[in-house]
């Protein structure tokens, strides 16, 4: 009996030792509280022979409220909505923590924030001067589209185009692979040209309209914005997203953001509609309708 128990114990210990030996290298290092992607991960290949980025993805960061460090904050009208519409706290996704604004540009960012809830569309020329474009349901531009609290889908086939379809206001962008032609003119989602650098999809984005913002904190850019995005599969369920942002009119130097994108894993997951135009019409156009007393 005693012997049998000893043998059983030895057997369990042996199995444990084998498991310990089989653990990846990182498991042998000092235990860390921070999860890390295995640098040895090799992504499944798509039909084009490159890493397969197909799927529905979503960021978990709160950068849409503020790219930089931010406290939890009340919504715009807490007297009406209580905790609804309030913003979560979050850590900066900017490398080094701070966006390197030129002094005057920093003042503009602050005034953007102060005026983020104001709109005035009575004059075509000043139509875009006030208010966060997100509040007005405008296409968010890049990189903001990637860290809004909505999913997006990548459709990567064999043609020289990769489709990025966003749930927010049904915005789309077409990534043209190895494309020569420059942006014919500026657009809300910009002109995206892609290439593979090893296993990383690199997307060069130019031709963005100057009116988009980076977040609800008023962070902004000019029409000289140049974004270089890098999408690297980090596990079957994660893409590491990095973007370098350059705009000599607004920033003293290029700066970088990074965060993981998470694969949406619900069995029945699909991109739904967030057509927000009707949610904005009263805000934008309500002051031009026939006065209520004489209307229908």
């Amino acid at each position: 009996m005693q012997v049998r128990r000893t043998i059983a114990f030895a057997g369990v210990a042996g199995v444990m030792a084998l498991i310990w030996l089989a653990m990846p290298l990182s498991g042998q290092q000092r235990p860390s509280a921070t999860p890390q992607f295995a640098s040895t991960f090799r992504a499944q290949r798509a039909a084009d022979g490159h890493p397969d980025l197909n799927g529905i993805w979503q960021a978990m960061v709160t950068a849409n409220w503020d790219l930089q460090d931010h406290d939890a904050q009340p919504g715009p009208h807490p007297e009406l909505s209580g905790a609804y519409a309030s913003g979560p706290a979050g850590q900066s996704i900017v490398e080094g923590g701070e966006i390197p604004y030129k002094p005057q540009a920093l003042a503009k960012k602050k005034s953007n924030f102060e005026n983020r809830l104001r709109v005035d569309v009575s004059n075509d020329k000043t139509w875009h001067d006030l208010g966060d474009p997100e509040m007005k349901c405008y296409m968010p531009g890049v990189p903001r589209a990637n860290y809004m609290p909505f999913p997006f889908q990548i459709v990567q086939g064999t043609s020289p185009y990769i489709l990025f379809a966003y749930e927010f206001t049904s915005a789309t962008r077409i990534v043209r692979m190895d494309w020569k032609q420059d942006a014919p003119t500026d657009s809300w989602m910009g002109w995206s040209r892609g290439r593979w650098e090893g296993d990383t999809l690199v997307v060069d984005v130019t031709g963005q309209r100057e009116e988009t913002w980076f977040d609800r904190a008023g962070d902004y850019h000019s029409d000289a914005l140049h974004v270089v995005e890098r999408y690297t599969a980090a596990s079957p369920f994660h893409i590491l997203y990095e973007a370098t942002i350059e705009d000599p009119n607004v920033f003293t130097r290029p700066w970088k953001i990074s965060f993981p994108l998470y694969r949406r894993m619900e069995k029945n997951v699909q991109l739904l509609e967030f057509k927000c135009v009707p949610f904005t019409e009263q805000l934008l156009f309500g002051k031009f309708i026939k006065p209520r007393d004489s209307a229908r």
Binding site: A47, W127, Y161, M189
Partner: protein, 347 residues
């Protein structure tokens, strides 16, 4: 016996002849085999254009079915004349409307389909939308309210932004199925990946992502402007069913009733540069019977790219229409005084 064999052969020959010269809706000519994607689906990827001058419904002054070369040329010429916005006959009011001239339009919309049909509708055989059924009193009331709003808008006197159509309000445009040719932005880009076909209509920048993996539709509790789409392959044809449309009035073609409307679309690549797009719509509370149209899609030169169609972001018109109406009211104008319809309502 001999006669019967002979007549059978004659019938067979006739059937073959018809099959050769009149491509049946949604059916590829025998010889063409659509290329396949590496994962085995028929390959529909590319940028396609559906513009044509062939009207949805057959005009009363043309013969049925397919025209000969001479008739086709005459038909095309007459349609192009009617559609052209570079004409200067018809007086000042017509001229003002035509200021939105051919420069802005899709020139492909001045040519009839290559198969020389006189209507895009292939069923019923008369090429016409079946007669409307009488709407229920409740729907008549809703439709009358919408019509009154449309009339105020057409008179330049909209009370409210809701007097304008969904396309004018930039909520949906030609991305609502069925896809019908219009004056511009007739491009559609098709993307595919294993388990999906995605169609990007240029207007308005939405993507219709179609699962082709056999999953069920959304539950009935979730409805969308563009509905919920599922696809499957029947041979080389992509068959697409769309359900779960929102209840909003005036989104679907001819104000069909979202509660009873059904649509099936079929995409068949019939040549390297051509897709047959065929749709069948039914709605027992709108049309007396289902009807089917066939619209050829032509592959366009990759140098001619799809481009972003923004709409709401710079929808200055909506403010102009409303502020203009407020000024006209001040001047004592009323809806009874008809003026030319404002440009911009493409549908």
């Amino acid at each position: 016996m001999r006669n019967r064999v002979r007549s059978s052969i004659a019938v067979l020959a006739a059937v073959l002849a018809v099959g050769l010269f009149v491509p049946a809706a949604g059916q590829a000519p025998k010889k063409y085999v659509a290329p396949k994607t590496p994962w085995g689906d028929p390959d529909l990827q590319g940028v396609w254009n559906d513009a044509t001058s062939t009207p949805l419904q057959r005009p009363s002054n043309v013969g049925t079915g397919v025209l000969n070369d001479e008739e086709a040329e005459e038909f095309q010429k007459s349609l192009a004349h009617d559609l052209s916005r570079d004409r200067r006959d018809g007086g000042n009011a017509a001229d003002v409307n035509r200021a939105y001239n051919e420069h802005w339009m899709d020139a492909r919309r001045l040519k009839i389909t290559a198969d020389k049909r006189t209507s895009l509708i292939v069923d019923p055989a008369d090429g016409r939308i079946p007669p409307l059924v009488q709407a229920s009193p409740e729907r008549q009331k809703i439709q009358a309210a919408r019509a009154a709003g449309a009339q105020r808008f057409a008179a330049g006197l909209p009370d409210h932004y809701t007097d304008m159509s969904w396309p004018v309000r930039c909520v949906v445009r030609t991305d609502v199925p069925p896809y019908l040719p219009t004056i511009y932005n007739n491009d559609f880009q098709i993307f595919q990946s294993p388990g999906y076909v995605a169609i990007g209509p240029e207007m308005i920048h939405s993507a219709r992502i179609i699962p082709v993996d056999g999953r069920p539709h959304l539950n009935k509790g979730l409805r969308q402007w563009l509905g919920d789409t599922r696809g499957h392959w029947e041979g080389s044809t992509l068959v697409v069913e769309t359900t779960n449309f929102r209840a909003d009035e005036g989104v679907l073609f001819q104000n069909a009733n979202p509660a009873t409307f059904t649509i099936t679309e079929r995409f068949t690549r019939v040549a390297a540069d051509s897709i047959n797009y065929e749709f069948t719509v039914a709605d027992p509370s709108t049309w007396t019977k289902p009807w089917t149209a066939l619209i050829p899609w032509t592959k366009i030169d990759p140098a001619e790219q799809m481009y972003e169609y923004a709409c709401h972001e710079d929808n200055f018109d909506i403010v102009h229409f409303l502020t203009g109406a407020r000024l006209r009211e001040k001047n004592g104008e009323t809806v009874g005084q008809q003026r030319p319809a404002p440009a911009g309502g493409e549908r």
